[in-house]
Subunit: 143 residues, 12 copies
Amino acid sequence: MKVLVINGPNLNLLGKREPGVYGTQTLQSINDKLATQAHQLDVEISFYQSNHEGGLIDKLHEAMDTQDGVILNAGAYTHTSIALRDAIAAIKIPVVEVHLSNVHAREEFRHHSCISPVCAGVICGFGANSYSLALQALVSGNQ
Amino acid sequence: MKVLVINGPNLNLLGKREPGVYGTQTLQSINDKLATQAHQLDVEISFYQSNHEGGLIDKLHEAMDTQDGVILNAGAYTHTSIALRDAIAAIKIPVVEVHLSNVHAREEFRHHSCISPVCAGVICGFGANSYSLALQALVSGNQ
Amino acid sequence: MKVLVINGPNLNLLGKREPGVYGTQTLQSINDKLATQAHQLDVEISFYQSNHEGGLIDKLHEAMDTQDGVILNAGAYTHTSIALRDAIAAIKIPVVEVHLSNVHAREEFRHHSCISPVCAGVICGFGANSYSLALQALVSGNQ
Amino acid sequence: MKVLVINGPNLNLLGKREPGVYGTQTLQSINDKLATQAHQLDVEISFYQSNHEGGLIDKLHEAMDTQDGVILNAGAYTHTSIALRDAIAAIKIPVVEVHLSNVHAREEFRHHSCISPVCAGVICGFGANSYSLALQALVSGNQ
Amino acid sequence: MKVLVINGPNLNLLGKREPGVYGTQTLQSINDKLATQAHQLDVEISFYQSNHEGGLIDKLHEAMDTQDGVILNAGAYTHTSIALRDAIAAIKIPVVEVHLSNVHAREEFRHHSCISPVCAGVICGFGANSYSLALQALVSGNQ
Amino acid sequence: MKVLVINGPNLNLLGKREPGVYGTQTLQSINDKLATQAHQLDVEISFYQSNHEGGLIDKLHEAMDTQDGVILNAGAYTHTSIALRDAIAAIKIPVVEVHLSNVHAREEFRHHSCISPVCAGVICGFGANSYSLALQALVSGNQ
Amino acid sequence: MKVLVINGPNLNLLGKREPGVYGTQTLQSINDKLATQAHQLDVEISFYQSNHEGGLIDKLHEAMDTQDGVILNAGAYTHTSIALRDAIAAIKIPVVEVHLSNVHAREEFRHHSCISPVCAGVICGFGANSYSLALQALVSGNQ
Amino acid sequence: MKVLVINGPNLNLLGKREPGVYGTQTLQSINDKLATQAHQLDVEISFYQSNHEGGLIDKLHEAMDTQDGVILNAGAYTHTSIALRDAIAAIKIPVVEVHLSNVHAREEFRHHSCISPVCAGVICGFGANSYSLALQALVSGNQ
Amino acid sequence: MKVLVINGPNLNLLGKREPGVYGTQTLQSINDKLATQAHQLDVEISFYQSNHEGGLIDKLHEAMDTQDGVILNAGAYTHTSIALRDAIAAIKIPVVEVHLSNVHAREEFRHHSCISPVCAGVICGFGANSYSLALQALVSGNQ
Amino acid sequence: MKVLVINGPNLNLLGKREPGVYGTQTLQSINDKLATQAHQLDVEISFYQSNHEGGLIDKLHEAMDTQDGVILNAGAYTHTSIALRDAIAAIKIPVVEVHLSNVHAREEFRHHSCISPVCAGVICGFGANSYSLALQALVSGNQ
Amino acid sequence: MKVLVINGPNLNLLGKREPGVYGTQTLQSINDKLATQAHQLDVEISFYQSNHEGGLIDKLHEAMDTQDGVILNAGAYTHTSIALRDAIAAIKIPVVEVHLSNVHAREEFRHHSCISPVCAGVICGFGANSYSLALQALVSGNQ
Amino acid sequence: MKVLVINGPNLNLLGKREPGVYGTQTLQSINDKLATQAHQLDVEISFYQSNHEGGLIDKLHEAMDTQDGVILNAGAYTHTSIALRDAIAAIKIPVVEVHLSNVHAREEFRHHSCISPVCAGVICGFGANSYSLALQALVSGNQ
C-alpha cells in the first residue's frame, strides 16, 4: 500500500508558528514518526509540502495513478479552495482530511471546509496524532 | 483507563436504518468489536444509548467522576443541542465526537455541530471504524 | 390496517391552552372522534402523547414493526427536532404531519418544519379535522 | 354548496410533465374523479386552469360572489405571487391550498408559500388525493 | 398635458376588499374625483386597471408616445415585478408610484419596491389622496 | 391649523451640498416658498433645523401640544434612528415623512427608513415640491 | 403565595461546572438561601431541576393549577426550545426568566432566547442574586 | 430542424429602450438576421414576443410537440419566474437561455436566473450575436 | 453608596406616551418612589434624563468618579448606540440595564441591545419595578 | 486575429475526471478541434493550461500586448478569484468566459462567478462546443 | 495650510479608558505632540472633541470654509453614523479617517465604517502615531 | 533597520492598469521613490512582486528571520486569502497593510480584508503615498 502525506500553506513553519495553537513539533519530526508507523504497517509513505494551491493540485493529480490513499492537511486552503475540492473529487483514491488543531474551536471562518464533502473522512483536533489516526484509517479501509 | 461510549438518537436502529447511509452493522456488533479492541488496549469500556437528550446529559454528568474519556456519537442532537455542549464543557474528561457517515457530504443542516468546539477532537466518515479510531485517540492522549 | 396517532409537547393541554389559537376541544375528545371514524373505516387505531422528544422517537421506533401508518402532530418539535426527522426517515411506514392551526399564518419560526421533507404529506389548518383528513389520506394510500 | 377548483401554471401538462414528480394522471382524469366525489357529496363543482397569474386572480375575484369555497393549486405562483395572496385575502370565501407533490421534499425555493398565511389550510404530498382531501375539508368546514 | 392612471392587481376590488386597510371608496369613485381635479388643472386624464402584469407592461409601453406622465399603483406587483421596473425605465415619461396604505407600516414583504428606483417619486399612505397628490406632483413638474 | 417643518442633519447645507443630488435651492428659499403656500392655505407654519438627533426629538415632543401636524425630513437619521421613531409614535399628531431626492434610487442603506412605519405617509423624490405636497396632504387630512 | 423554582440542564453541576462563569455556589446553597428569603416574604417555595426538556415542560404544566408564579432558569434550552416557550404561553401564571451569568456578554448563540417573549420579565447577570430579585419581582407583582 | 425564438417582456422596445444597455437594433432587425442565418443552416425558424409571463408559458407548451429547440430571452422574468422554469423543465426539447447584455455586469438582482438550471446552456453579453450563437449551439447539438 | 439613575430618549414622556406599552406612571412618580426606596436603603440617589445620545455619554463620564453605580434605561439608544456601549465599558462602576417593558415581546429591532454585553446585568419587563430591582441589585452587589 | 485559450485548474484531467459531468473528451482533443476551426476562420490560436491561479494571471498579462482575445475556462477559480477578475479588467482585450457544464445546474457555490462582470460575455453548458461558440463570438466581434 | 483635528465620543477619556486597547496617553498629550509636528510642517492646527454626533457634524460644516483638511477619529460613530458620512461628503475639503487601535482586530461590529467611502483615506492601528501619519498625508496631498 | 515591500497580484501592471483607479505611476517609479525615502531614513529596503498567492507566502516566511518589518499590498488576495493571514500571524515581525486606492469607496467585495486583523495597522487611499506613510509608521514603531 502506498500513501502520500500532503501538507498545505504555513505548515512548513510548524514548531515555529503559534506553538500555543499548533504545538512545538516540527513538520519533520511529525513526518519521521509517521514514517516509522508506516514502516510497521507495511505502508510505503511519502511526503509533500507546499504553500502554493496549484502545487497541491498538481501533486494530487500525480497521486491519482501512483498512490492508494492521501492524507491531506490543506491548511487555510481548506476553507477557501474549490479548486482543491475539484482535484480531490477528480482523482479516485481516498483522501483523508486532517487538522492538527480542533478547527471548530477557533475562528468562525475556520469552521467551513470546502473539501470535507469529497474526502473519505475527517479527523481533527488530535495534534500530530491526527495524521497517525488517518494512516490507520486508510490501512483499515484497505483491508 | 476507563472509557464510556455514548450513542444518541436513532443509533439503536443501526443496521435497520437507511443502510445506504449508515451501513448494515448493528450497534451491538459495533460495540462488540470495540469491546474486543478495548480489551487488547487494556481499556475498561462501557456502552450507553438513548434517544433522550436529557438522558445523554445525565450520563455525561455521571461519567465526570467515573470515566477517563468519552466517545460520543450524538446523532442528530449534534446539530441542535447547546445543552449537550454545556454538559461536555462542564465535565472535565476528554470527549471525542464521532460520526459513522461523513456528515459534511450530506444535507446542509448536518454540517454544523454544536458540540465540536468543546470536544477534544472530531472523527467522521469512517463507518464503525470511526469509533475504533476515537478509542485509539483517547488511549494515545493518555500516554 | 393499524394507525398510531402521536401528539407532541403541550398538546395534552388542548382545550385549556390558548383556545383562540387551538380551539376548545380537549385532546381526549379529538381522539374519541378519531376512534369512531377509524372504526367506520375498519382501522385499528391507538394514541400516544408525550412532552419528551425522546419519548416521541422511542414510540416512532416501536411503530416501525407494529403499525401501517402514523399521524404525527409534533407540536413545537416540528420546528426544532432533526432527531425526530431522522426517526421518521428510519422507519419505513408512512407518517402524515398534521397541525391544528395554520402554522404559516403564525410566527415566522413556525413556518419551517424539520420533518416535512421526510413525511408522506402535510395537512394543516383544519383544526381537529386535520387528524381526520390524515386518517383518510392513510387509508386511501393503502388502497 | 359550490366549489371551484383552480389549477395554475404547467398543471395542464399533468401526465406529460415529469411523471416521476407529478404522477401519470392527466388533469382531466383528476378533475373527473373529483366531479364524481363532488356529486356524491352534493357539491356543485367547476374547474379552471390557467398559466396566467392575472387569469388566476380574475377567476378568484369572480368566485367571490358565486362560490362557497376554492381549492387552489397555484403551481409555481405559490412561491412568487403576492398578488395572488392579496386576491385570496380580498375574497371572503375559504381557499384551501393543495399540492400534488410534497413541496418540502423538493428544492429550497419551493418551501416558501406566499399564499399559505391567507389560506384556510394546506394539504400537500398526497398526489391527486390532495384535491379530494381538500374537498372533504371544505365540506366538513361547512357542516 | 395628458396623464394616465394605472392600477394593478386587486385594486378593482377597492371598497370591497379589506376596508380596514384600503378604505371604503371604490376605484370608480376615486377615479371620478381625480377626473374632476384633472379637469380643474386642465389635464387630460385616462384610467386603466388590470390584474395582469403583462397588461400593465403593455399599457406602459403604449403610454410612451401618447402621455406626459403616469400615476401607477402597481399593487402587489410593486414588490415582485422586475419586468414592470424595466418597462418604466424604458419609457421616457415620468411615472409616480402611489399607494393607498402606508406600505411600510404593513408586512415586511411590502417594504421593498422593485419600481421605486426608476420612478420619478413615491407617495404612500394618504388613501385616495395619494393619487391626487401625484397628479399635483406631475403638473408641478411640468411647469 | 398649525404645522411645523423639521429638517434634520446636513439639510442646512442645501444649495451648497452635492447640488447634483439635492438641487441648488437653499433651505431658506424652500422655507420661504412653503411659508407663502401655507399663508394661502391659512396654515400657521414654523420651521426648525438641527444636526442633533436629540434636538429633533426635543422639538417633536414640543410639537405634541402645540401643532396640528409635522413635516419631517429627518435626513440620514431616517435610516438609523429608532429614538426618532419612538418620538413620532409617542406624540399623537400626524407626521409626514419627506425627502428631496428619491432615496430608493440611491445607495442601499438609504432604502430603509426607521420612521416610515409610524408616519402618516411618505413623499419622496419631488425636490422642494415634496414639502409642498406634504403640506397639502396635512391640510387635506384635516378637512 | 406559592412559587416554584425550575432549573434546567447542567444547573445541577453548579459549583463544579466552570466556576469562572457560574460561580462556586452549588444549586443546593442557592436554593437554601432562596428558601430563607421566601420564608421572610411569606412565600411557599419549592424546587425542581431536570436535564430533560420534556421534564421541564411536564413540571410547568403541573404548576399551572398549583402555583402563583415560576422562576425559570432554562439553561441552554433557553436558546433552542420552542416547546418550552409554548408551555410557558399555555399556563397562565407569570414566569420570570433568570440567568446567573450575563448571557449577552457570552457567545453569540446565547444572545437569543426562545422564551423571553412569553415570560413576564427577564433578569440576568447577577449570579445567585438573579433568583432573589426574581422572587421579589413576583411578590411585588402580586401586591 | 425547427427552432422557435421567444422574447419576453420589454424586448419589443429594443432599439427604443435604453440603447446604451441594449443597443440600437430593433427586435425586427435581429429576427431578420436570424431568419437569414437559419435559412443558411436549413433551419425552419419562427418568432414570438410577449410581455405576459403566462403567454411565454403557453408558447413553450405549444413548442413541446412542434419544435426541436427554443432560443429564449426571458427578459426580466429570467430573474423572478419559477413558473417559466417549470415550463422549460416540463417540455422535453432543449431551451437555450440568451441575453443581449452581460447581465452579470449589471444590478445584483439581474445576476440570479430562475431558469438557467433547467436550460441546456446559457449565452449572454454578445448583443444580437447571442441569438446567433444560440442557433449554432442548437444546430451543433443536433448533429 | 451613591447611585445615578439615567433615562434616555422619550422617557420624559412616560405616562403620556403609549400607556398600553409603558404604563400610566410619569417619570417623576417613578423617580419619587425610587428616592423613597433609596432613602430606606441608605443610598444617595440622583436622576438624569436626556434625549441626546451625547448627553447620556457626558453624564456617564461624569459618574465615573462620583458614583458607585448607575441604573440606565437607554430607551431606543439601547438598540443603536455603540458610543454608549463604549462609555459604559470605559467607566469602571457597575451599570445595570433596565427596561420598563419586556423588549423581547416587542418588535424584532428591539431584541438586540448594544449595551448588554458591557453592563453588569439586565432587568426588563417589570414596569417601574425594574428600576427598583436594579437598585436592590446594586446594593446587594455592594455588600 | 490572434486568440489564446486558457484553461484553469483540473481541466488537464478532462476525459479522466467525472465523465458524467465533464464528458469523455480530453483537453487535447478539444484543443485539436478548436485549432482546426481557428484555421478555417483564419485565426492564429494558442493554448495554455495551469492549476496555478498566479500562472493564469501571468498568462493573461502576457496576452495583453500579444493577443486580440482570450477564451477563458477558469475552472473552480471562477468562483473564488478576485485576482483573476482584476487581471481581466486590467488587460484591454476581450475575454470570453466559458464552461463545459451548465454551472447553474450544479452546486450553489458554482452559481457565482467572480469574473463574469468583467468578461465580454459568458457561454456555458454546451460541452466542448462552448469553446467553439466563444471563438465564433470573438471573430464576430472583430468584424 | 489649516488642519482641524476632530475626536468623537469617549476619546476625551483617553489614558483613563481601557489602556490595554487605547494606550496610556491622554488626548491632551496626543494633541500637544501633533501641535509640535504641525508647527514644524508650517501647518495651522486646531482641535475639537465632542461626544455629540450633532456636535461633530456642526464642526465639520464649520470647517468647510475655514480649513484645508480634517483629521477625524469618529470613535464609535464611525460604525453607526450615516449623518456623519453625509456631512463629510457635503463639505469639499479632504477628511482623513484615523483610529488609534486596529479596529479590524476587534469586535465584528467595529469592522464596518460608515464614513470610509467618503473619506480621502484611512489610517488605523498605529496608536497616537495614526494622527501624525494623517497629518503627513494631508500635507503631502497638498504639495 | 530592514524593510521588505511586497506587492501582490496585478500590481506589476501599475500605470498600465485602470489609471482612473490606480494612478499613472508604474510600480518601478513607486519603488524608486520609496528607495530614496528609505535611504534618508537609514532603512535597508528591498522589493518583491508576485501574482502567486504561494509566492507571497513563501516570501513572508523568508522575511521572518531577515527583516524588521514588511509593507504589504496584497492586491485582490487581501479579500480572499486566509493562507496569507496565517502567514502574517506566523512570522513575528510587524506587517503594515497598504492600498493605493480607498478600497472602501469601491465594490462591496473589496471592503473585507482577511489580513487586517493580524497586521500591525492599515493605510489606504493615499495612492503611492500609502507606501511612504507605511514606511514612516514602521520606522516610528521602531524608535
